[in-house]
């Protein structure tokens, strides 16, 4: 594994340069034009921050942001619980009845086209609504259920990759020393897989925040999430306000990612250091 050669050819840098500029060009253009004074987005007529002000005056948009953050928070939290359980089952259980269907149910949501998921969930909610009163009104609850369902699959992928790397002998040792399975989980397993759980939570949160198609299907008139507001505005054409919103989102995500990366890099460094001093003894 260590023997991967490091190339320093100009080809490599050309590939990376081109690829990354393709990924970042649209983002850069959004940021630049968000400071444009002109209403016609792509015609530059001087620096201005007025669209940021206009953003905060837009009640519809602000309501959408609040609702989306709330749903995102609740979906990510539930998905982390379900996803961690699912990852446990996938990595630790040898054979059990229904294994094939279980594995199918946590891998297929990763690729299932959103229109299919959205339509099928809505039809389920309508069928359930005829029996249970709880589902007769669609809104926050139904969006939450839909988001938890597809986020669980993503969380289980992230957590299971960490669980696989985990040294099982520590858990076994604790078990031999008389710890109950529950105690082993909370004292040993959970702290070790915590970075993956945090990463899974963040991934689920952003996925939930980002979802337009599924939410459009399962939502009712009472709940309009941020992507739904943005989509109806974007359909009518480009708007400088959306550019300002995009810039804010990009800013928040970049800062959050950088902090997470910094914390993880520091933890990794400390771990390596401990390993080294441990060996020295």
């Amino acid at each position: 594994m260590d023997a991967i050669p490091v190339y320093k050819t100009k080809w490599k840098w050309a590939i990376l340069g081109l690829g990354l500029s393709f990924l970042y060009l649209p983002i850069l253009s959004l940021i630049i034009y968000s400071f444009n004074a002109n209403r016609l987005v792509t015609v530059w007529s001087g620096f201005s921050t007025k669209w940021y002000g206009a953003l905060f005056d837009d009640a519809l948009l602000m309501n959408g942001i609040t609702l989306s953050l709330l749903i995102g928070f609740m979906s990510a939290t539930a998905a982390v619980v379900l996803g961690t359980l699912a990852a446990f089952v996938m990595t630790r259980y040898n054979k059990f009845r229904g294994e094939t269907s279980f594995a199918f149910m946590i891998t297929a949501p990763l690729v299932m086209p959103e229109v299919i998921t959205g339509l099928s969930l809505l039809l389920l909610f309508i069928s359930l609504g005829q029996v249970f009163d709880l589902f007769s009104q669609r809104g926050m609850l139904t969006i939450w259920i839909a988001h938890v369902t597809f986020c669980t699959a993503y969380v289980s992928v992230v957590v299971s990759s960490r669980l696989r790397e985990l040294d099982k002998s520590i858990e076994e040792a604790a078990m031999d020393l008389g710890a109950t399975p529950l105690k082993v989980f909370f004292v040993i397993t959970l702290p070790t897989i915590l970075p993956a759980i945090v990463a899974g939570w963040l991934l689920a949160f952003t996925l939930s925040l980002d979802d337009l198609v599924i939410a459009s299907f399962v939502s009712g008139p009472s709940a309009t999430t941020l992507p739904m507001v943005v989509f109806s505005s974007v359909r009518l054409g480009v708007s400088p306000k959306i550019n300002a919103l995009a810039t804010l989102i990009i800013g928040v995500v970049s800062v959050a990612t950088f902090i997470a990366w910094w914390i993880m890099a520091k933890a990794e460094k400390r771990r390596l250091q401990e390993l080294r001093t441990g060996n020295a003894k």
């Binding site: 959004l30 792509t42 996803g83 229904g98 790397e165 990612t257």
Partner: protein, 308 residues
Amino acid sequence: MTTQSSAKLKKWLTRLTPSGRCAILAVPYFWLFLFFLMPFFIVFKISFAEAVIAIPPYTQLMTMAEEQVQILLNLGNYAYLIEDSLYISSYLQSVRIASISTLLCLVIGFPMAWAIVHSSPANRNILLMLIILPSWTSFLIRVYAWIGILKNNGFLNNILMYTGIIDEPLRILHTDTAVYIGIVYTYLPFMILPLYTALMRVDYSLVEAARDLGASTTTVLLKVLLPLTKAGIIAGSMLVFIPAVGEFVIPELLGGPDSILIGKILWQEFFNNRDWPVAAAVASVMLLLLMVPIMFFYRYQKREMEAG
């Protein structure tokens, strides 16, 4: 006597209450079964119903008549999909656009994954983060950004006209080209990540050996790297192809009136025509069409999650 009966009761209770192992499995299993698998059966069921003006806007399949349960299967929706050439052509167009986009993602993604793998370990992490970072910002907003770039008086045309490469603005927005750009842009990270994982696992002494024996770069790529990374290529391709077939937002925002993809048709049948049974039939056929690729992906992902 009392201890005996309480022991008996305890034994009976433990048999009745599920073990921890079972409970861990049951919670996610039940949730996913109810909210992921069950809905497909309902879609399938409703695809045999008839559209009516009511709430909900479809007929019931089972009716009680003359004290007997009657099941009425209406194949009309499927016949309609075959008769109207719009549906078949949009299925074909979706598969075509998704296939070409997948190939483009592979052609762009493979060199990028290769370049990341052959960087120093510290650079590798930074580069990976740079690849993932855009997909953490809103998907909708990134697609929207391309409208501003590809418009007739947009960023790209402005630059090309300014530098004198073209005299007239290129019409890219609202064409298939824009759809390709949108799909490749959005799904590229999903191609790069599994390719990166696969390339990291390659034993590079094999590449070295091939080179020592006089293999050209092309031979090394075709005979060594591609076969060794097959699993990653399949996973990445499925991660792009399957969602791209049902894509709605990208063709809606970037595509023209003639890029009628099946995701868009489903959306319109549902939201604009309010013909839910036809929408359900469209979804059922799409699901059937995607079953083979989904099984491919499932087998790879299952092995990935259980390995180790």
